[in-house]
Subunit: 405 residues, 2 copies
Amino acid sequence: MMKKLLLFVLDGLGDRPNPQLNGETPLQAAYRPNLNALVSTGLGGMMFPVRKGLVCGSDTSHLSLLGYDPEKVYTGRGPFEAMGLGIVAEPGDIAFRANFATRSRDGIISDRRAGRDIPESGSLAKKISFSMNGAEFIVKEGVEHRAALVIRGKGLSPEVSDSDPHEQGRAPRKVLPLDDNAKHTADLVNEYLERVRTILDSSPENRDRESKGKPAANELLLRGAGITPRLQPFREKYDLDGACLAGIPLITGIGNLAGLHLLKHPGATGRVDTDYNGKVKAAIRALDSHDFVIVNIKAPDIAGHDGDPLLKRDVIEKIDSALGQTFELSDSVVTCVTGDHSTPCASKEHSGDPVPILFSTSGMRRNNVRQFDEVNCCRSGFNLLSGDVMPMLMQLSDRLEKYGA
Amino acid sequence: MMKKLLLFVLDGLGDRPNPQLNGETPLQAAYRPNLNALVSTGLGGMMFPVRKGLVCGSDTSHLSLLGYDPEKVYTGRGPFEAMGLGIVAEPGDIAFRANFATRSRDGIISDRRAGRDIPESGSLAKKISFSMNGAEFIVKEGVEHRAALVIRGKGLSPEVSDSDPHEQGRAPRKVLPLDDNAKHTADLVNEYLERVRTILDSSPENRDRESKGKPAANELLLRGAGITPRLQPFREKYDLDGACLAGIPLITGIGNLAGLHLLKHPGATGRVDTDYNGKVKAAIRALDSHDFVIVNIKAPDIAGHDGDPLLKRDVIEKIDSALGQTFELSDSVVTCVTGDHSTPCASKEHSGDPVPILFSTSGMRRNNVRQFDEVNCCRSGFNLLSGDVMPMLMQLSDRLEKYGA
């Protein structure tokens, strides 16, 4: 019987020695009997996301973990930021990163971020989401002034310039086609932006802001156009029926592009208060009807970005406790636990440090790693790149066909 | 004085923890003082055949070990299966995988395997091996219904379709050209198959089978045409006079394509009863007149495919004992011992697990691996791919030219 595959991605798992933890990493400092038992019954090593010395985002890293080479399919931040904001992108969609900005009466951008504090951004985004000239325009607000614009329609091209002048004191730029095929798209975007200006200028939200002395959010500055890539379906690539369980839209967006079945678990919040036990249980239950499940747990990354090593240690302990449920699967499932990148609490940003990884299943080789952390896994001498993870899972589940005779 | 190179490939060496060996691999369980001494005086590490997570055949792996990239030179299983059956293929030969099958009176394939039990396949293969229209047709029987057909001649192309209908109840297909250059080959094969039908239908072997109520082996179904690749001669590639000692025709076939001198040792059977001591001695003696010798010892793979971990341990002990002869070479030879892939006894099939590897010679660096097995070599952190082996041997023998100034 071929085994099934279960891949846990603990977002931002890797860290650096932290003075608040007596020079240990949050993973080292965590009480983690289940992670240690899993690695003791299998292989422990270190994984560089995508390639050595790269500081990866979650998008490029998850693409690579699923076996899609980001160098080939990562078509710019636009489409992935749009997915991250919850726009369910479809292959061929054109996406821009966007800012709400302030345009003064003379048409000059006086504030590229419209004062940053824009609680009205959600209702403004809805007002400037509509269909026009056969294309659908979808705007979704992000944190502060940030937003994304997705354009869905026929014959669209990402080869257009930014409307964002990239500095204050200048007028928004006309969007220009960068090649012959992009003229239609450029015209369409320029006409859309004209209509957006009318809508935003006359919106009650902006009148209200101005009456309070706040800068109006009356311009949508666009930059970094990119096309949503068409990924080879996961089922076609691996002959696996795959599913994805994640609390954050960026990862479900990537799962959607790969053709993974998107699992929902009501307690999976994508925050540190997520229902760890329930999420792991839901993933295990999904293996009844799927061959492969990828689970993203966002909490360690949040604690890293917050610069809170004690919180990061604590969420790792909760994850460890939840992972105890995987032991009974050993005869029928190959389990892999790793991170998508490091988010050291000291820097509060992603780093290029490799992340620990373990593979565990019955009957496989062990390599004498007894503790799952950045130091012990490094000493094992078992090193891989994120692109090696799917082939490793495939071969450990005896699913690979022989190359040769 | 430049050292000579001696490469031992223990076929299917790698394994997984086996319950019959108290959770050790056959290599771990074997008494192996010589392998341990060799690795203690040099470098021990792990090698993935071709690339990580691939499940390799012996053909793709040996090509890679010799420095030929299978992605470039592996032209399909046909030519390599033909070599495996003992047809000494030449570059440009077209080879098919073939089945003896049963064609009923109405021209329909009633049994794609002619009942599997075909003791007459050898004499039938000889009868349908002949020259025709300027081309030579060579058929060699394999196990049960299996066989290979090689066509040697001018202007041949592998771009032709199968005659095998791939299911019972259908007539054999006409072989069709898949591009403009393949018409001659398709015509030739179709005419050959017509003649084969006449020969097989009227053969005493088949009349005898039918009189015994057995299905006639009166059709040769062809599939998977491939061209025998032209490899850059080993001598040209490395400026080495190389030789190959192997008990199985697949490996001598590859050695032949690489232009290696094919060594014969009467006791080398390609089976578990091979003369291990004599084979190692013959390889050492060959170094008097050659710079490089590759030795394939098939026995561990056979034990793996048989699912017999005790036998695998025992043959490894015999190999270890024979390798004791290499110690006196240390000042003049770089010795490498590895496998071509793993064949775990538990699965009885090749797996993608990496294999241990050692390099040993006087004066080289050591990396503190003291035991040659899957666990200790993994912990060394010295990781390579099979394509790295020849460059490592070349550099350890001080034969490589400087890259740069």
